[in-house]
Amino acid sequence: MRTNLKLALKILGRRKFFTFISLFGISLTLIVLMVATAVLDNVFAPREPEQNFDRVLGVYNVTQTGKNGTMSMNPGFGFLDKYVRPLRGIEAFGMTTEPISTATYVGGARVDVALRRTDGGFWQILRFRFLQGRPFTKAEDDSGARVAVITDELAQKLFAGAPALGKTIAIQGDTFRVIGVVPAVAITREVAWGEMWVPIGTTPSSEYRHQFTGNFIGLVMARDRADLPRIRRDFDAVMARVPVEDPKAFDTLHCHLETTFESFVRPFVRNASQQNGTLIVRGVIGVLALLFMALPALNLVTINLSRILERSSEIGVRKAFGAPRRALVWQFVTENVVLTLIGGIIAFALSAAAIAALNQATIFPNLRFDLNLRIFGYGMLLAIVFGFLSGVYPAWRMSTLHPVNALRGGAQ
């Protein structure tokens, strides 16, 4: 293996034009895939303030089906309070509304605000880094205290750089006192994104407390990842006993405790089970990535096949001196994988530049992509797959050359 690696580097170093052309195609493909991976990673991987989300599950949706149709909505406070909060053996339970688009006024100018109402548990599960102040507590939520946490970006808009703590914001007919400031969150973070958070207890009417469906998300944090399957089973057992909201209109209820990725894929694979659905979407993403790689891989296959003629003498010599077929296949596959790995490293470096440009472009507010070791790992894995894809067939063709023909310089 070491010999093959050294040999591969020597050959690539000598065949500069071939190496350049191949690396160009490989790097370009891998850049696109790495940037796409960085985007997916940004949206779904556990990152601040959702860094605990590898052990957090959510209730994002309640679907009820009847003979007249299907109704799919967010769960209501009453539903979550009655069926999810009492789950056993969890570290924390929290709730938040979906962001509500509202506005406040500064000197007569309208400032749009994405408002969320949350409970105290929300701040236990989402670990915001507080730039100033603190989150609100369960007691403040229960008492309906008019307090708020806002983002630094909103603080800048409203108070123009002055300290925000203690300042008040008039919104939806109420006035809230700022008790905490956190860094702005990317819009792609489904649970964390918002600009202002106030206690659920400040909701004007108490009707929400009994609602089966509404605009809430319920969050359950396990003590350990290993507890998640048990918590899901407990939840499913509870759901099996929950009656539909209106038996005249509906006869079945579907509700899942799921990851953000599972909730994202659910609309695409509505009829599949939770695990199968995730697998299907991961499979589709994998197939798309493979298809995307297929074209440049075919191109590299063609280049490699055309090189059979060029290298036929070498193949003949190696065969004459005792190279078995599998040794030749390994040699050429190793050469190709080394080439694609170098392409992967170049692509990683260029992807970093592309991502820096994307971050500068501010297409989505506060959306910061970055390349981390995990993405580097995915990138290298993609490179190896690419290397095998484009290397195995030409290597096999080379290894099956008849030694006499190969020595004559023919590829027949």
Partner: protein, 221 residues
Amino acid sequence: MIKLENVNKVYRTERVETLALENINLDVAPGEFVSVMGPSGCGKSTLLNLIGLLDAPTKGKLSIENTAINGAGDGKLARFRNEKLGFVFQSFHLVPDLRVVDNVEIPLLYRRMSGGERRKLATKALERVGLSSRVHHFPTQLSGGQQQRAAIARAIVGRPRILLADEPTGNLDSAMGEEIMSILHDLNQNDGTTIVMVTHDERFARRTDRIVRLFDGRQVA
């Protein structure tokens, strides 16, 4: 050492069938230096390819060191070539991307051997052919004679008992041809290497132990 009994070689294409060798019987003794002569297209190289296990006879029996070769698989043939045979080609067939020493190491890559040991044997083989000062050169930086000497080093690095040389002096001027022939004679006389050499040059052939002559695929002497 090398025995061919009633060997035929036929090349078939969709339309044509060509009898390249017909009823060849040859027995080469250990330590013998045999040259094969004949006009172009008479089957000399085909015969050498059969002995070198690079091609298989259509009919007849081929054995090397009392081992029948007919019907052996790719792995066995590869191992046999690696351990028992060395090749010298008219056009050298050095890999241009590799340095001389790496070229010489090629046969040893397919043996269980450390990199250090490979390098030691390759250097020794290059010394034997008088190329120790060109170890790190690329083939294109060498003269024709030097390239053929490097090719001989590659052929002997694995200490094969049999050396097969296909017109080893064919691409060289007479002085360089002499150089190569003296190396081959040295290997034959001092190491006891059995050599079968295809040549067009009567002078060189006459200096070998025996001449096998072919004409239109048949052995005529």
